[in-house]
């Protein structure tokens, strides 16, 4: 992969303070380095171990369930590390540029810090991206109604703010997180109207051999399901939510219509959480010029990395769900593994036995993930079945029908071309929310495997930022230069 060490005088930089970031920083500190540690959240922990704001008092057991011990251990590690690092919480990395060839640093990050929106420029020689993931959502009619959330969003509301998304909530989609969040809602005293899991019991049985590689995880999953069932929560496998219905005023979610494959049912609810697994946040890797490759396991284009986590771009390392969805435990191992690679690439001796142990665990995680894919497959007919009137891109209000029509009328067979011709992904989310579903839709509409439609390329800013917050160039261009530049673009 890359030739990673560039400037040993620059401290390593870690982006993300979830499980991968914490274990990476821990390893770097343990070997005598003082890394720069950037995280978008005010308090570390990432998504799965997200910490509530100071003063919130729900106990860890209620927040994290079985994972309370892991969460508390991670938070304790994190807290102990803070005095030993250059800590930058509440800081968005909104831009990243690789350095020009011949520069000693590998690249530069642009940071936006805190409510005052201070700008910083951070050059790096070595950078670990542990940027995590967000929900992969396959839209259905009505999913933009108030009361409808992504699964992860529903979890964040509960964990971070102690808010439920409704009083009677239905959980829709597929993936292990579906049951975990339903259970967390139930524990918080919310009525769980139903869990509508696209996957069939047969899928989950077929996946048992791979899932048994992590028997504890498997047992926890089974336990959540059993707990839900024991509490009288209807859990429907092989179920398919068809549409979400508004109330009479058309203003808020009132019910979900779903099918068991034989007949349609209508279920009253005032909150719905949707998710079909997760998608990696890869924008920074893209901006830094990392090579991407199609990963069938993750059904996504992801930055290429070696088994240690080295990306193809100079000085860039990848770990955790931001590089491919393997879950929180694997993120801890991958974070530590990548940090050991960063150390070794600096010429610092690392424990070879520990490296072997971590890689063995990561290999098992990948096999486990294969089991999860088999247990919770994406509904294969979603793209063919999603009705024309369904909004796919919320920012630009583009429906499935419009996207199909553009593809048919123009011959657009690639996602980037569909974007150009339809405005897909040109709004505030920049395709982070709609891109995965749009790829499935375009592949189906153009009769191609989904990898053939390619991917949307990241452009700064990674998330919207106020114009006022932008840094001004130190050296202003003179009038003559400015004039040339203006004429250059003003066709």
């Amino acid at each position: 992969m890359s030739a990673p060490l560039t400037d040993p005088k620059l401290p390593p930089v870690v982006v993300g303070a979830g499980p991968a970031g914490v274990r990476a920083v821990q390893a770097l500190v343990a070997h005598g380095l003082r890394p720069v540690w950037v995280d978008e959240a005010p308090r570390g922990g990432g998504q799965i171990y997200r910490q509530p704001p100071p003063g919130f008092t729900r106990p860890a057991k209620a927040l994290y369930g079985f994972e309370a011990g892991r969460a508390q251990a991670l938070h304790a590690t994190l807290a102990a590390l803070l005095p030993q690092v250059d800590h930058r919480p509440d800081t968005l990395v909104w831009h990243a540029l690789p350095a020009a060839p011949g520069q000693p640093q590998a690249g530069t990050l642009s940071l936006l810090h805190g409510p005052a929106q201070q700008q910083h420029s951070l050059p790096f020689g070595q950078l670990l991206l542990a940027t995590g993931a967000t929900d992969r959502v396959l839209p259905m009619p009505g999913w933009t109604l108030p009361g409808v959330f992504s699964l992860g969003g529903a979890q964040v509301a509960l964990k971070s703010q102690a808010c439920a998304i409704g009083q009677r909530v239905v959980f829709i989609g597929t993936g292990p997180l579906l049951y975990l969040v339903a259970w967390q809602y139930m524990k918080a005293g919310v009525q769980v109207a139903a869990v509508l899991d696209n996957a069939r019991l047969a899928d989950q049985v077929a996946a048992l051999p791979d899932l048994a590689l992590q028997p504890v995880v498997l047992a926890k999953g089974a336990w959540f399901v059993a707990q839900l069932a024991a509490a009288g929560v209807p859990v429907h496998r092989g179920a398919r939510a068809l549409r979400l219905l508004p109330d009479e005023a058309g203003e808020r979610l009132q019910a979900v219509v779903w099918t068991d494959g034989v007949r349609e049912h209508t279920l009253a609810c005032d909150g719905a959480a949707l998710g079909h697994g997760l998608r990696s946040e890869t924008q920074l890797a893209d901006l830094l010029g990392c090579a991407f490759e199609w990963q069938p396991l993750h059904r996504a284009w992801l930055p290429r990395r070696d088994e240690a986590g080295r990306a193809s771009a100079r000085g860039v390392y990848l770990a955790g769900d931001g590089a491919g969805i393997l879950g929180a435990d694997a993120a801890e191992w991958a974070g530590e593994r990548a940090a050991l690679a960063m150390l070794a690439d600096r010429g610092i001796a690392v424990d070879a036995g520990r490296v072997r142990w971590l890689q063995a665990r990561l290999a098992r995680s990948t096999r486990f993930r294969q089991g999860l894919e088999r247990a919770f497959p994406l509904p294969p007919d979603w793209a063919a079945q999603v009705p024309d009137e369904t909004v796919i891109c919320r920012c630009e209000h583009l429906t499935a029908g419009e996207l199909r029509r553009v593809a048919q009328d123009t011959g657009a067979a690639e996602l980037s071309r569909l974007k150009a011709l339809s405005r897909l992904g040109m709004g505030r989310c920049q395709g982070r929310m709609c891109g995965a579903a749009a790829a499935e839709l375009l592949a189906q509409a153009t009769h191609q495997p989904v990898e053939r439609v390619g991917r949307l390329r990241a452009q700064a800013p990674v998330k919207p930022i106020p114009l006022l917050a932008l840094p001004v160039a130190a050296a202003e261009s003179g009038p003559a230069e400015a004039h040339t530049a203006a004429a250059g673009g003003q066709a």
């Binding site: 920049q430 932008l470 160039a473």
Partner: protein
Amino acid sequence: MNAPALQTPARRLKTDVAIIGGGIVGASAALALRQLGHRVVLLERDLCGSRSSGVNYGGVRRQGRLPVQLPLAQRAHPIWARLPELIGTDGEYRRSGHFKIARSESDMAALEAYADLSRDFDLGLQLLSADQVRAQCGPWLGGAAVGGSLCPEDGQANPRLVSPAFARAAARAGAQVLERHAVHEVVHDGALFHLRAGDGLQVQAPVLLNCAGAWAGALAAQFGEPVPLVSNHPAMAVTEPLPAFLPWSLGVEGGGIYCRQVPSGQLVLGGGQAEPVSADALHTRVAAPTLGTLMQQAIDLLPELRHAQLIRTWSGTEGNLPDRQPVLGPSATTPGLFHGFGFCGAGFQIGPAVGEVLAELVHSGRSSTPIEAFAITRFPSPAAVQTPLPGAHR
């Protein structure tokens, strides 16, 4: 409307005209040539309109061009009005007006001088006072202007729609438009050009159009006509949707920033230079300080933007020449070779007319629009003209 067959390559093609480059120039030339009955093969390395023509600011502007370009601009002007019948989409083209703002008396004097200089071309320029600007645009702009020059029939369009639509229209008219076919080699045997392209494709044609934009210089040099072409990467940015406030495409006398508001409410801004982040300049990024300067200029011009959100930046790759004029016309060394490149960031509006001119040159050997100022011979290359590179003429 049916999807045209953009990608149906035969392995060996014989045609009347081969075109390298699927930007707005190459694609509109292909369309115009088909309308004159010529067989055409267009080869595009990526997707048509993916570099400069499809990702530029989208200004459709005659105002501000030097008189030497105004005949081409005037020829293009009515073509833009015919886009729906010509290419099957209006491309969000609107004659919204192009307003060049003056922020000082000397700027205003420069705009007055340009109005005089361009008087023969009937651009319909209106010089507005500060009060008139305020009356037409409200408080958003009023404070910044001492006046300006409005060209009411200039305007804006969506380049992402327009440029690929020219390629699709050419394909519908019968041109073979082959995307994802980079040209690796061009040889002239005295009568025919032999092109070797991606996917094992070979094309033979007596006529070749060099419409390769920022990458056209290598081909020109191969035929003994080196030009001082350099790449240019305009920095572009767009805000979240805002309430409609800006009726015009807005430029600033003296340069720096330009902006327009699209129907969705988003404000498209440009100014400064992005950076190539790959050796072949296929990928570009706007660096943070460049963006900061652009945003500061935006806030200075339109103070209410200060709390608006920036949602995306991008750039492309344009070909620039030192005198800021394109190369357009026949090769001086090689019969059958015609150049159309180097539009210096100002090719979008004139592109459709340039396509027609290239088609005329192929069809009848002359252009009905004056193009002498754009001859490639204005760049001295005497040695190369007399002794072509080995392999170029076989």
